[in-house]
Amino acid sequence: MSKGRVWKYGDDVNTDVLFAGKYTYAALEPAEMARHALEDLDPEFAKAVKPGDVVVAGKNFGCGSSREQAAACFKYAGVAAVIAKSFARIYFRNAINLGLPVVQSVEAVDALETGDEVEVDFSAGELRTNKGTFRFAPLPEAVLGILAAGGLIEYTKQKLAAGAK
């Protein structure tokens, strides 16, 4: 379990600032997608983000489009988790389907600031930080299997293989 540095943002971080529409059919390679992550909100983010870093934000994270690149660009940039007060529903689905962990915790978001350090322990349901330890509710059972498989593609492959036997 690695310690990650926090990048903190506000409420309603939308899919256009996460990954701009002009790149949705142009930037297709993982490294290129990572380079445009969060470009219209914080142009410094993609340049300086390190694998294991954690994005912390307010309510309604990922609102807007269904574009999956808004979650994929974080995964490819090495973001270990997104911690928010709440998530827009399609973003929540996309993140899980891609195997990008999402954590809901109002208390942790209120406490954490850019530069803080966070360790996410999914099995214990704990965020251990330099501002204290915060507990979070486990994800719904229906989606845990998807995360455990490493994303929906792997999960579905396993299911299809089981069905074919």
Partner: protein, 417 residues
Amino acid sequence: MGQTFSEKVLGRKAGKAVRAGEVVVVAPDFYLSHDNSAAISKEFRKLGVKAVKAPGKIVIVLDHIVPAASEEYAQNHKTVREFVAEQGLPNFFDIQYGVCHQVFSEQGFALPGKLIVGSDSHTTTYGAFGAFAAGIGRTEMACLWATDEIWLRVPETVRIEFRGKFQPPVAAKDAILRIIGDNGADGADYRAVEFGGPAAGEFSLAGRMLLANMAAEFGAKNGYFEPDVTTLEWLKDRARAEFEVVRSDPDAHYEKAFSYDLTVLEPQVACPHKVDNVRPVRAVAGKRIHQALIGTCTNGRLEDLEAAARILRGGKVHPQVRALILPASAEVYRAALKTGLLEVFAEAGCVILNPGCGPCLGAHQGILAAGEVAITTSNRNFRGRMGSRDSEIYLASPATVAASALTGVITDPRTIS
């Protein structure tokens, strides 16, 4: 206690009675995708399955960047066409049809009581016809193609009731902007939104599509209008399948309920850079604009173009404004041609674009430079959406955008004689 519309539709699909909060695994009736079908097909190939499970349920409309604006986009479209041919998909609509949500509806897939998912956030539009319709992502669409199965959480329901009567030029866009402004961009996150009440009939089908479309802008999973005579009449020659109207029970449980009086509503505008940053138009009147966009899947139907033409007829677009007309579909385009609306726009100095998503998502056909301001009838004003991150987007009704195009500044349409 009775059931809501959403509980009924998802319960029928799950084969059991369900309540809000439960997660069900279901087989939708139709699934929509667009230019992203190329990316979906790549995910689909990873699954190691040769053929899609239910070809007749897949509806693909090319609309996002049409005609292709670059070699990459051209390759993207080509990949989609090849996949459609290889899999023998019967419901493919190439670039000449229009925006997916309008085309899906015109082609008779948006039907009462049906369960529809789409890899586009504005899939919620089909609730205007009494369908349960929600946006999903690409990877899950690929898996749906392979398995015809998806998990969905049964949403709680928020009810919004209307009373009174619109005072033109105040229209449906002003109502939905006010609702989003009052409730916030996450006001209905993960919830179903039912629109109804004594003045529900004030909303034409175009207005209902607009409200259900923009339900996504306050976080809703789906929007819903109860089908009425108008709905059934429109569907008569279009419906692709048998359908059954599904309604909430009179004693269904609503998490929240609001009521709006349409009579007192005035023209509204969503200011940069959030859809819930809503103010009366008069509060920002006089703000200089550079581009005016009338159309899109939000407000690009015939009555929207008529509302704009009423203001633009006989006038000239301000010389420092680029006014773009973007009909939602080819069907709308042809109707606007026959009824003389396109001539009104051309005479006024507007640029008439081919039906498609166009500049709404900032990929082509009218990108904003730094420092520029657009007023548009579309549904999102996020920073940088239509071009430079240092541009600004205001969202308003066709009447307000048309009035602003004439004057060169944001203008309350009630002040235009």
